[in-house]
Amino acid sequence: MIELQIVWFLLIGVVLTVYVVLDGFDLGVGIWHLFARRDDERRTLLTSVGPVWDGNEVWLLTGGGALFAAFPPVYAAVFSGLYLPMMVVLFALIARAVSFEFRGKEDARGWRAGWDLAFALGSMIPALLLGVVAGNLLRGLPLDLRGDYAGGFLELLHPFALVVGGLGFALFAQQGAVWVWMKTEGELTDQARGWAFLSWGAAALLFVAATIWVLAGLPHVRENFLALPVLWGLPVAALVLLVLTGWAVLADHPGRGFLFSSLTIVSLMATFGASVFPSFVRASNDPRLSLTAYNSSSSDLTLEVMLVIAGVGVPLVAGYTIWVYRKFRGKVRVGHY
């Protein structure tokens, strides 16, 4: 019998992975938003994600809610410890959420330019900072006895964290570019293929850089892999899938490009999970202070109740989400925005 704590560690990982794959492409569309020059192109970009972006973002809220419910001390420590970066992400998400609806409802140029900027920055900031957080969690953070972050703001901008942040940003950009390439027609499609190639190149470079850094400088990240060598399959799969994504872009197969790009992200998230397990936040000053699935969980009853909620709810959500995506498959038509 697998312990409930492990089940919830995995489930939160699954929810966040779905989030990164799905919101990945609409954050990515936002990254490229300003690179589309004409108003109708920008409307096409927005419309390509319009019917689904809000549902995609709910995966983040679900992940946050599940973390709060299953591992309250982790939720409390991460959100209060990283107060300023969290506030920055929050304001970015706010700006982004309203810019979808607000932008197209007024014709004035200044209005549209303002919301275009809000949408682009609101997408870029989370795309970058999510990776920076991941990088810091890989490295570990100094924690005090209460489990609160004991470092300063600037420590969070450690070069390794920035490399991982850059990798995340490049992968979001790639996911968005491939999405636009797949969903649009005409000039924009060719442009998007160029974006895909560019972001793929950046992702490949940063992937190599992060891998070397981990192997050379962060021995603790290797521990789980040495203990269970089959896990090496995960980073190897990520590398293969990244290469396949590049091949799909070169060979002009947008559908496969999107599939491989998504699977690259899935395998990287799995690699990340395998690296940090069982810690959510690894204490860099003293491993005994780490916030792990074992020492930070809710009561078994809460974890069981949550499992029932997830067991009933997630299949339903998956069912109608797939239905919605199927209903909107095919090339984008401008509408609503």
Partner: protein, 474 residues
């Protein structure tokens, strides 16, 4: 200022601002279900244009509600870390359940509703509207569950410095959940209906889209009256529950200092917390006892039962409650008169009534806010009634200046949001529903704006299916 005050200010400001929007969208969602039902049944372009008009105003408000709602999920962790550690075992589950059971539903099918015209059948679109409304209404349920647990905690025990769940259903259906949920939903329906009523009245006064406005006004007026009437029941139920489970809150609401039999209901007074008395009081003897316990002679607990530092801020709670009651009375009067005029077939010519309906648009928002103040200030100084003090619930590791900085930023960003929301709403209200003739022409305009759009795509859009505003942007 100290961190507790700043964190409370920030929470109050962000949740108070957020709470402007969901009641409106919950209420409007059901009005839209009504107009979409008419469209599904009749297939008339008339009902399609009405539906799309309200959906547009709904979408603008929904986006603002979503954006400001994300803040709330962040804040428990950022500003109330001790609270999160203390109650996370119980409090997190309803938030996760809200996302899984409600927010996904709402968001996914709103996408279908906003982008589906011209693609999907009338039935699909009607079902989408229905699911959005159900999602919105369920969302409120889980949020009220979480908040009600703070009012009347149940189904838990204190273990090792935290509250641990012992009975999930007892926590979900704690004593205040259902009275507060029904009360909030009725308030939301009132808000949505009074908004639709007021906007329709505005269009009628301006002689714009007259038939569409009349049709909307009829639906909204009936819903507003019914929902407001229902508050007699839900409000009373809630009142009895507060008397039973939160006597200090009731005492603050009524400015009752001494525990007494045959307690009076105070119609008006100026409460004096320092000297512990009411000035200029107008009272109805025995009524509070009767309202609380269905017995004119029942004993009602007074504020002096608890030491001064455990009492809620008196004036705020006392006056907020009376403002809410007065607004309820006004809505009752306005909608009753409106129904009478509608029955006599004279409503649409009564310009004075239409004007009053327009002026009433902001009032349900005020009623919601003061109701929320009674609920939340009336619980102070507790974050979780009798279990956790608000001042012990904050993040101890976040310095005051960071809270202040983010509070100022919230003030600025929310002010901008409010202005943009109000501006767009006003603009699109004034435009009114698309006139019938324009509807088919604009579809072509929209099509022309997209380079490389295939002919097959254009064919898929029926002439009546795409209303004008979609095409105008390009």
């Amino acid at each position: 200022m100290d961190a507790v005050i700043l964190a409370r200010l920030q929470f109050a400001f962000t949740v108070g601002f957020h709470f402007l929007f969901p009641p409106l969208t919950i209420g409007m969602a059901w009005v839209i279900v009504g107009t979409m039902w008419k469209w599904k049944r009749t297939g008339e372009d008339f009902w399609l244009r009405i539906s799309r008009f309200w959906i547009k105003l709904f979408a603008i408000t929904f986006a603002t509600g979503v954006a400001t709602g994300i803040t709330m999920e962040f804040q428990f962790g950022t500003n109330w870390a001790e609270y999160s550690r203390f109650v996370g075992d119980i409090f997190g589950a309803p938030l996760a359940a809200e996302a899984i059971f409600a927010f996904f539903l709402e968001s996914s099918f709103l996408g279908v509703l906003l982008f589906g015209f011209g693609r999907f059948s009338r039935t699909t679109l009607f079902v989408a509207a229905l699911l959005v409304a159900i999602g919105a209404t369920l969302s409120a349920f889980w949020i009220i569950v979480a908040n009600s647990w703070m009012q009347t905690p149940a189904g838990f025990e204190l273990v090792g410095g935290r509250a641990e769940l012992t009975d999930f259903w007892a926590a979900v259906f704690n004593p205040s959940t259902m009275p507060r949920y029904t009360h909030t939903i009725a308030a939301s329906l009132t808000t949505g209906a009074l908004f639709v009523m007021g906007v329709s009245a505005l269009l009628l006064r301006r002689g714009k889209s007259v038939e569409e406005a009349k049709a909307s006004l009829r639906i909204a007026l009936i819903l507003a009256f019914a929902a407001n009437l229902a508050q007699l029941g839900t409000g009373h139920w809630h009142g009895m529950q507060v008397a039973e489970t939160q006597p200090t809150k009731l005492a603050a609401t009524e400015g009752l200092f001494d525990t007494q039999r045959g307690a009076p209901f105070v119609v008006f007074a100026i409460p004096n917390a320092e000297e512990e008395r009411l000035d200029a009081a107008v009272e109805v003897p025995g009524l509070l006892s009767w309202l609380s316990f269905a017995d004119f002679d029942a004993e009602v607990k007074g504020l002096r039962e608890v030491p001064p530092e455990e009492r809620p801020p008196l004036g705020e709670v006392f006056f907020s409650f009376r403002a809410m009651l007065a607004l309820w009375g006004w809505f009752m009067l306005l909608t009753s008169v409106g129904l009478f005029l509608l029955w006599r077939r004279r409503l649409f010519e009564q310009r004075w009534w239409l004007r009053l309906a327009v002026w009433t648009i902001p009032l349900p928002f005020v009623a919601n806010e003061v109701g929320w103040m009674v609920a939340e200030l009336g619980r102070q100084p507790w974050a979780v009634q009798d279990v956790l003090l608000t001042r012990d619930a904050i993040s101890v590791n976040v310095p005051a200046w960071q809270i202040l900085a983010s509070l100022l930023l919230f003030g600025l960003v929310y002010a901008l949001l409010f202005v943009a929301w109000f501006y767009l709403l006003r603009k699109h209200v004034r435009k009114g529903p698309e006139p019938a003739a324009v509807a088919s022409g604009a579809a072509g305009e929209g099509a022309a704006a997209v380079p490389g759009r295939s002919a097959a795509d254009s064919d898929a859009e029926g002439p009546a299916a795409v209303a004008g505003d979609d095409g105008k942007g390009g």
